[in-house]
């Protein structure tokens, strides 16, 4: 990795940070969450591909890196599938009857 590339990545990260912070103040309903998470994914990709050298990494290393995120998706999907189909009480402490 060259110093020039690091500088370009840093500029991209700062630009993305400014964009996501500015957009958070624009009322877009539930789209706000998806925009901010989408920009977070873009920032993470810059860090993963260049700073963590996955772009130049071997296929085996990339599979290991992807595995963690793949299992994370399974965990989030199954956890949400469970909890969103529960109908029992889910109230905070001060609202328990």
């Amino acid at each position: 990795m060259s110093g020039r590339l690091v500088l370009r990545c840093w500029l991209a990260l700062m630009l993305l940070l400014a964009t996501t912070t500015a957009l958070a103040f624009v009322p877009l309903g539930s789209a706000n969450l998806f925009i901010s998470l989408g920009i977070a994914v873009a920032k993470a990709l810059v860090v993963l591909l260049f700073f963590m050298e996955l772009k130049a990494g071997s296929a085996l290393v990339r599979v290991f890196a992807a595995a963690g995120f793949f299992w994370l998706m399974i965990m989030i999907a199954l956890t949400s599938a469970d909890y969103t189909h529960r109908s029992d009480q889910r109230v905070p402490l001060d609202q328990v009857p």
Binding site: A24, A40, V61, F64, S80, L93
Partner: protein
């Protein structure tokens, strides 16, 4: 000779680099799931409690959070520069970049500590002084998530600062064996940065336009 200094289990420096990188990524995959469970909990609470949960998020300090994100992203760039400089065989440059990385990490912790003190002043710390009557139970759930997530992240960052400081000392005093140590500690540092990249929108950017 670089090869002589390698561990006995490695045939070539390239094999050493491939092996330790793979091992580090296996560890980082477990860390993804460690922080991921917190994020899964956050998403479910956000679906359940909707606007009340988002309103609680707007009590966080967005200016300090944004500054801290910039500080941490910059520290990652410095870490990447340290690895680049070390690859190029420079002697002083990696040490200076590593010191910059550690100082930025320390700056992040200090800003975070100031933020915690502000939240303590606003009676937002669950189990210590949370004002249930003023903020409500959903806000307490949000702030339990907030302190667990940012606290565990800060702990990881403190470990990173210790590693980077040791590394700067070891390179500066010429005690580091040739190998991938700088690159590995860099991977850990960048990972802690990625955790923050996802915590930032969930904690600070929610509820900014209600």
């Amino acid at each position: 000779m670089a090869e002589d200094a390698l561990g006995i289990q490695y045939a070539t420096p390239a094999q050493e680099r491939e092996t330790v990188t793979l091992g580090m990524w296996a560890f980082l995959a477990t860390e993804v799931l460690f922080f991921g469970s917190l994020i899964a909990a956050y998403l479910n609470y956000r679906i359940w409690f909707g606007s009340e949960f988002i309103a609680a998020a707007s009590l966080t300090k967005v200016v300090l959070g944004t500054i801290n994100t910039a500080v941490l992203l910059t520290s990652s760039a410095c870490m990447a520069m340290a690895v680049t400089a070390r690859d190029a065989g420079a002697r002083r440059a990696p040490v200076l970049w590593l010191i910059a990385t550690a100082l930025l990490g320390l700056g992040f912790i200090l800003i975070k500590g100031y933020e915690y003190s502000l939240e303590y002043g606003e009676h937002l710390v669950p189990a210590l002084n949370f004002d249930l009557a003023r903020h409500g139970g959903v806000a307490e759930i949000f702030f339990i998530f907030y302190f667990c997530a940012t606290g565990l992240h800060a702990l990881h960052l403190l470990i990173g600062i210790c590693l980077v400081s040791w590394l700067a000392f070891a390179i500066g005093t010429d005690r580091l064996r040739p190998g991938s140590t700088t690159r590995l500690i860099g991977l850990y540092w960048h990972f802690v940065d990625i955790v923050w990249i996802f915590l930032f929108p969930l904690i600070y950017l929610a509820g900014r336009n209600g």
